[in-house]
């Protein structure tokens, strides 16, 4: 499986290159960080007061976001693959819950959130040194540990989303190594830029922090539209391009083995997203509530948008369409949820439902890549749309980040008459595309050269469950179940 760039992937590489060029000035500007005044110890607020209600909500939100990956995403993706790959696909989510967590403790959290420059944090919090019960500048009413674990849950689900692109064909070992490198080299910098102290795109969301945290290109990303969805979605596209399609793709049917599992997964994603977006308010009050309801309405509208256009175009509203639309709605609202109103959220949901219907059905086939479970089609496209529409539908009265306050701005969205946000959204989006796209490309080519990315033909044929893990998802044979006794399978030894 050599990587021969096809025409569309060539086009994409060119786009990436152009984007890099266009963004160089911003990068240069970013190189001279603003002087900031920090809390005495940089991040921790030693005498900070912990609010038990806020903490309760944030601990709950952490649980909800963990539930999004396991079992949520594991089920959503697991149901969409063929029976022979169900366990391996669920394992991709599950193992990331393990690997990324340990990585986060060792170095990830520090790279994202300890003091650094505009692009990346430092090593101060490596091994979670200095991350204790006192609140931090990031979330001033909850323990620093709570903020750290909440952020970890985001770091887990982001690489897990990419799995959708390389499902049913990537080697387990390569997938783990790719995810680890991806987290350190792409996710941590992105998280730092958007939410970290002085990060390039930090706009000081909802916190009275002084100018310490604001970056040079402040953008609005309430809960991770760029960091989570664009970065994973674009990386997913690159994975699909570099890995190539599944054997038999386009010539043979590859129906989801159990949409039932996927519906369960989608519903859990929806519920968990309340923690993802609502928790991003970092407190339990009006802002959390506002973000949560926008999230809910966008999901609802996304489902309706998708099946509406599907009903029109294909004659029947599908269940897979409804759940895909809901996920698209959740994606699109992620950057905007804390900045916009419920009615705009409905509008954004309807739009993304229609757009992602096309990206997951037509665009993919047009371009010829095999984004197996539409990680790019939903998260990349939906995330990009969300980042941009945030600049359109943001409402200053809902939430005015510190950057706006400082500059005497009271409006945030284009519809209100302020266009500056949209410009920054576009820049931040382009930047994210470049970092995720180029970064992933380099990582993948590297890993491919060293250890290969795909399982071999025989292993793909027999399925990843068997070839990577030596297990089967289902053992429903009468021979096992109708009897306690002999069967077509022999027990040959115990390890």
């Amino acid at each position: 499986m050599r990587f021969v760039p096809t025409a569309p992937s060539k086009a994409l590489l060119i786009v990436f290159t152009l984007l890099i060029a266009a963004l160089l000035p911003a990068w240069a500007a970013a190189a001279e960080p603003l002087p900031v005044t920090l809390a005495p110890d940089g991040i921790n607020l030693v005498n900070g007061q912990i609010n038990s209600g806020d903490t309760a909500w944030m601990l709950t939100s952490s649980a909800l976001v963990l539930m999004m990956t396991g079992p949520g995403l594991a089920l959503f993706y697991g149901g969409l693959v063929r029976r022979k790959n169900v366990l391996a696909t669920m394992m991709q989510s599950f193992i990331l819950m393990a690997v990324i967590s340990v990585l986060w403790a060792i170095i990830g959290y520090s790279l994202a959130f300890s003091p650094g420059n505009s692009f990346i944090g430092g090593f101060e919090f490596a091994f979670l040194r200095g991350v204790g019960a006192a609140p931090s500048i990031y979330a001033q009413t909850i323990p620093h540990t709570t903020w750290m674990i909440f952020q970890l849950m985001f770091a887990i689900i982001t690489p897990a989303l990419i799995c959708g692109a390389y499902a049913e064909r990537m080697k387990f070992s390569s997938m783990v190594i790719f995810s680890v490198l991806w987290l350190v080299l792409i996710y941590c910098p992105m998280a730092h830029m958007v939410w970290g102290l002085g990060g390039l795109f930090n706009s000081g969301i909802g916190l009275d922090l002084g100018s310490a945290v604001i970056g040079q290109l402040p953008a609005l990303d309430f809960a991770g539209g760029t960091v989570v969805h664009i970065s994973s979605g674009v990386s997913a596209l690159v994975c699909a391009l570099v890995l190539g399609h599944r054997r038999g793709y386009k010539t043979h049917p590859m129906p989801p083995h159990s949409v039932v599992l996927s519906v369960v997964g989608a519903a859990l994603l929806w519920v968990g997203w309340f923690g993802f977006n609502g928790g991003s308010a970092l407190s339990a009050g009006g802002l959390a509530s506002s973000a949560l309801i926008a999230t809910h309405f966008a999901a609802a509208a996304g489902a309706l948008g998708w099946i509406f256009i599907e009903w029109l175009k294909a004659g029947k509203p599908t269940v897979l369409g409804a759940i895909s639309g809901a996920v698209a709605g959740l994606v699109v609202i992620t950057p905007a949820c804390g900045f916009t109103t419920p009615m705009y959220a409905i509008l954004m949901g309807l739009i993304v439902g229609v757009v992602c219907f096309f990206s997951a059905t037509s665009l993919k086939h047009l371009m010829g890549y095999d984004d197996s479970l539409d990680a790019f089609g939903v998260h990349g496209v939906g995330g990009t749309l969300g980042a941009i529409l945030t600049g359109v539908f943001a409402v200053g009265a809902v939430n005015l980040p510190y950057y706006y306050q400082r500059h005497g701005l009271t409006k945030t969205g284009l519809l209100e008459g302020y266009g500056g946000t949209l410009v920054n959204q576009l820049l931040a989006t382009g930047f994210t595309w470049v970092i995720a796209g180029v970064g992933s490309l380099i990582l993948l080519l590297l890993i491919k050269a060293i250890m290969g990315l795909r399982v071999n033909e025989a292993d793909e044929y027999s399925g990843l469950d068997l070839s990577q893990h030596g297990e089967s998802g289902y053992n429903l044979e009468d021979a096992y179940s109708a009897t306690y006794a002999e069967s077509g399978a022999t027990l040959i030894e115990e390890a």
Partner: protein, 112 residues
């Protein structure tokens, strides 16, 4: 002895079985199978990928009968398996040389 293999619609199973029982034929083995034939399959769609499922779920019955009982059994199956719609299935009769009841070792007609 004869082996009757009948591919029928799943929802005629009960009627066919009852009719055979009336003839005193109680032993039947049923196998779930997928039939391709004149009856059209259906189409499924997953995220726009249209999939033409060509087969139809059917049940294949295997019934071993004494040669003498064969015509009556065939008639009973045809009559009760019939709905008149395309897809009602087919029935095949072939010779059997030997039958053994595993439990007792009885053979041939005695085993039926």
């Amino acid at each position: 002895m004869r082996m009757i293999e009948a591919v029928i619609q799943p929802h005629r199973l009960e009627a066919v079985k009852s009719a055979l029982a009336k003839l005193g034929i109680l032993g039947v083995t049923a196998i779930e199978c997928k039939g391709f034939g004149r009856q059209m399959g259906h189409t499924e769609r997953y995220r726009g990928a249209k999939m033409d499922v060509g087969f139809i779920p059917k049940i294949m019955l295997k019934i071993c009968v004494k040669s003498a009982d064969c015509p009556a059994a065939v008639a009973a199956i045809v009559e009760n398996g019939r709905t008149g719609q395309v897809g009602d299935g087919k029935l095949f009769v072939s010779p059997v040389e030997q039958v053994v009841r595993i439990r007792t070792g009885e053979t041939d007609d005695a085993a039926l």
